[in-house]
Symmetry: C2
């Protein structure tokens, strides 16, 4: 199992990332400021670092530079709140392997983490998720139910994917909302319910189970 260091001061965001990474099968650890982050990263216990640029204590750029200097092989994925291309370009030039601009959808962060941690050709990438009669092709963006083809929209696919990847576990509306819609999406909305309805209509009523008071689950 891969260890990931999350250097992020906003508790809301670090918790969000941490939970998501855990659900995806990674072992995350949080550092709330630059100095702690740098020191932890340099221990060598981590396979990847998710680094916020806007940090208290020690600026993210400085952390990035020190990591580059001392552990050039450690992949760093930079988060920046400022929608400023100069920042991101500077980050990439300083050695970040990738970057994301807040607010981001968790699914995208996960895709990037997976991409950067991929290493052995043995562990073939998952391009299909199967559960009983339902088969979802992530590359084709299509689903098969029994023998017939079903087209899924981008949102529907994204929602189905996270449910299937966490097969057996209940996912709360908030989790689904932040994973699929982004962590700053209006929490009062009932989009999740509506899209669960769409999935049921397309993939069969019993594709998702409602767990009253908690959320949804695919068994």
């Amino acid at each position: 199992m891969k260890s990931i260091l999350v250097v992020e001061d906003e508790q809301r965001i670090s918790a969000f990332i941490s939970k998501g990474l855990t659900a995806a099968g990674f072992r995350p650890q949080i550092a709330a400021d630059g100095i702690t982050g740098r020191d932890l990263a340099l221990t060598g216990d981590f396979d990847l670092v998710v680094l916020d640029i806007g940090l208290p204590g020690l600026d993210g750029f400085s952390v990035l530079k020190q990591l580059r200097a001392q552990r050039p092989e450690l992949p760093v994925l930079v988060l920046t709140a400022r929608d400023n291309p100069d920042d991101t370009i500077y980050a990439l030039e300083s050695g970040a392997v990738d970057y994301m601009i807040k607010p981001f959808r968790f699914a995208e962060l996960l895709a990037r983490v997976r991409l950067r941690l991929k290493e052995s050709p043995q562990e073939q990438e998952v391009t299909e998720l199967v559960r009983d009669e339902v088969r979802i092709d992530l590359l084709k963006r299509q689903a098969w139910v029994g023998g017939s083809l079903v087209e899924l929209s981008a949102r529907e696919l994204s929602l189905a994917e996270i449910l299937l990847r966490n097969c057996g576990n209940v996912l709360s509306r908030e989790q689904l909302l932040s994973h699929v819609w982004g962590f700053d999406f209006d929490p009062g909305s009932n989009v999740v319910d509506v899209y669960i309805g769409y999935l049921r209509k397309k993939l069969g009523t019993d594709f998702v189970t409602t767990v009253r008071g908690f959320g949804y689950r695919v068994d």
Copy 2:
């Protein structure tokens, strides 16, 4: 450079695949029937096989089985004209690593070929294409022009991607049409022109050069 064997009897389709693979930096070779295909595949000169199921002479399934038996490590990507889930499931069970249903967009075939040939962690995947002021992020599905963010639709992104990946080469309307829209798309349409116009509006007039009588090129 990777060698790819294309076993396909329809000349129109094999030529289409072959050209596209060449443009993408692969070395393709065509076999027009099952027996030739099987014999070539067994020489061991190829890194991947694209195999049509509906073949004259020797059925695609038989070819697949023989390849599995004698070269289990050789990745085979199956093409099937029949929109029949049984066929594809059977193909996968027989050991195909992946499948595509005709008609397909070439871009998708390419994505699958790349995925299956990927092997060393060294050659990091391309997630960004850059050319002068224009930067395109394939994962984010966004573009940056100078310092500002531009949203691209799925079609626009796909078109921009193939143009950028073939930087310096002229691509004909037919090539673009088959790559982005699929090889059976109405050849009389001027969608390509229209979408080139959209790209110019979003990415700058001089992003693409028109080569009168031939097609378009990104320098």
